[in-house]
Amino acid sequence: MSFTHTSHPKAAAEFVQNTNRMNWHDEALWFIRTKRDRIAQTVPDWELLRQQASEIKAHTLSKLDTYLQQFEENAIANGVTVHWAADAAEHNAIVLKLLQKVGATKIVKSKSMLTEECHLNPFLEKQGIEVVDTDLGERIVQLRNEPPSHIVLPAIHIKKEEVGQLFHEHLGTKKGSADPQYLTNAAREHLRQKFLAADAAITGVNFAVAETGGFVVCTNEGNADLGAHLAKLHIACMGIEKVIPQTKDLGVFLRLLARSATGQAITTYSSHFVKPAPGAEMHIVIVDNGRSTQLGREDFRNSLKCIRCGACMNTCPVYRRSGGHSYHNAVAGPIGAILAPNIDMKEYADLPFASTLCGSCTDVCPVKIDIHNQLYKWRQVLTREGHAPAAKKAGMKMMASVLASPKKFSFSGKMARRMLRWFPKLAVNGTLNPWGRQRELPKVPDQSFREWYKQHKKETK
């Protein structure tokens, strides 16, 4: 599923309009954030662990080419076939060719944000290939013909009653039933058929270990394993930033990942794949799709440290109240807002502004990405590259000239206060001024501080 473009403020305003749903969404994610806090507190030296993770990633990014080649070499030695894709189109073409070679028409796929980013599903479906997302949340959004709204909790925006209705329509569950246990069992039954019938399995990759050529896939449902073990063909798709140097580094990342993501000590399954089973094929597709460009942007390089835990979304007060779809990108939230403009500045020029720069994302991030600083920097880049609205530019220029001059500032301050006192309704109730829709303006004082100071200078000394 891909997005039709609506700017973040507009989509967010629609989301906010349904106050009950917004509050419910906010609470659901805040609950996960607090769960994360509680479990992080139990880890001695949590901050040190974050630091370590951040440094391992920084080191890896500084020698990414070396580690990727080492990974490839070792994977090949293990009997795995490695493919390189420069962009989404190449990635999709490679996957299609591999499937066609064995005549696969029924595919099961576990969670992979990369394949979302490459829009693999619609591409394969056009070729007559059935792709079933086997992560429960992903299956739910797939049946609704929607993209995921969260990288870890793809269906977090959907209430259980809606899932009940959806499953009633698609899987024949009892009408009106919203019992999570019942619905999960139904999904399990449904997916089991799909697993058994599948010709090939596609998985994502959480960590690719350079020193062994093996890779780790983390799930809570075991769906990656079931798919990969049953099918004769396993294709694992990964971005170039997924590589880590050594197996022992997993001890750092696995401790951080599930705790940050869902407040669990560890994901239920952390499956290590090394080589194909006898008689089966294993392929890895390593994808760039803009990542090396981001690596070259010094200010934004660190965004490639991301381990896709989703903690920055759970903590983001804007995300919680605007929903993942308002970001119109495969990866939503604060991290999405610094990754997306790298791929298309024009399309995603709104995202770095969908933030108050409160910095909660930066403080929660397990690999210490300075997310809010990068949002600030993207704003500057986007403006310089001409992606700011003309009216805003003119306004800013005017403001800059007033604020650069003490005289102009005093004068316009006085005028503004006078205007507000004379025509308060102008500023407050007009639809022209969004401030006044739900907020009063400050009461206008008779004097500015500087005017008061001029009068009282002598006495204050």
């Binding site: 305003a13 007060p317 109240r321 502004f353 403006t383 401030w435």
Partner: protein, 245 residues
């Protein structure tokens, strides 16, 4: 010790009482404060809007205003953070650097430089504290709930020196209020929703007064409070600490 008062532009124009309280508070503590009258603004409104390139004039004026002081003190964590992070001048970077390192938010100036241990003031009421995000996370005026470090809060430390004050606990003490500069108008819907969440937290805890380190966050929340006619009074922390409120 030569101390200059840096009054954010919107405080100057709309909240003169906050600047007066800040000045009096410092004077009560024996500090001789100057208000350099040619000051205007730190440039944050342009920079956060993506127009950092337009702040050169503003920066020059800021540096001209505040050069020569040992300390520059301001009742705004957000503006101070902006100066610390982004005040530059290509033609005189040394002067910019000096100002950047000498600028302090009011509370941290009190706790870290003046090392205030007691305040001879009292305040009656149930008070909720909103530590603005830029002060709290940016300037580290307080620990943030995301990080697993021992709790501390400079504003709270000062408020606890006030006699008779009753600080109320909050459910989401360091959640952003949704002001965010231009964000408050470009993302009006989310901004107001965020502010309303904060306010319902205060109401649930029967707070009578809302205070904070940043008048911008407070202006936004006060706007919502007044529109809804809620019984919460909004005061900048300087107004409580100076004892005149």
């Amino acid at each position: 010790m030569r101390v200059a008062l840096f009054v954010p532009c919107y405080v100057d124009q709309f909240y003169p009482n906050v600047a007066i309280a800040t000045m009096q508070l410092l004077q009560n503590l024996g500090v001789d404060v100057d208000f350099p009258e040619q000051q205007t603004c730190c440039g944050q409104p342009m920079a956060n809007g993506g127009f950092e390139d337009y702040t050169a004039g503003c920066n020059k004026n800021f540096i001209r205003s505040f050069t020569g002081y040992d300390y520059v003190v301001s009742p705004s964590g957000s503006c101070v953070l902006h100066v610390k992070d982004h005040l530059h001048d290509a033609s005189n970077e040394a002067a910019a650097t000096t100002v950047r390192t000498r600028v302090y938010e009011l509370c941290e100036f009190l706790t870290d430089v003046l090392k205030v241990k007691q305040l001879d003031v009292s305040f009656r009421g149930r008070v909720a504290l909103h530590q603005g995000c830029h002060g709290q996370r940016g300037l580290q005026l307080g620990s943030s709930s995301e990080r697993m470090l021992p709790f501390f809060s400079k504003p709270m430390q000062l408020l606890q020196m006030v006699k008779d004050i009753e600080m109320v606990p909050l459910l989401r003490g360091d959640e952003c209020c949704g002001f965010g500069g231009t964000f408050c108008v470009t993302e009006e819907a989310v901004s107001a929703a965020m502010g309303n969440s904060k306010i319902s937290d205060y109401m649930q805890h029967n707070a009578q007064v809302l205070t904070g380190t940043d008048m911008s966050c407070l202006m936004h929340q006060e706007g919502l409070i007044r529109r809804q006619r809620l019984p919460i009074r909004v005061l900048h922390i300087a107004e409580i600490l100076c004892g005149n409120s």
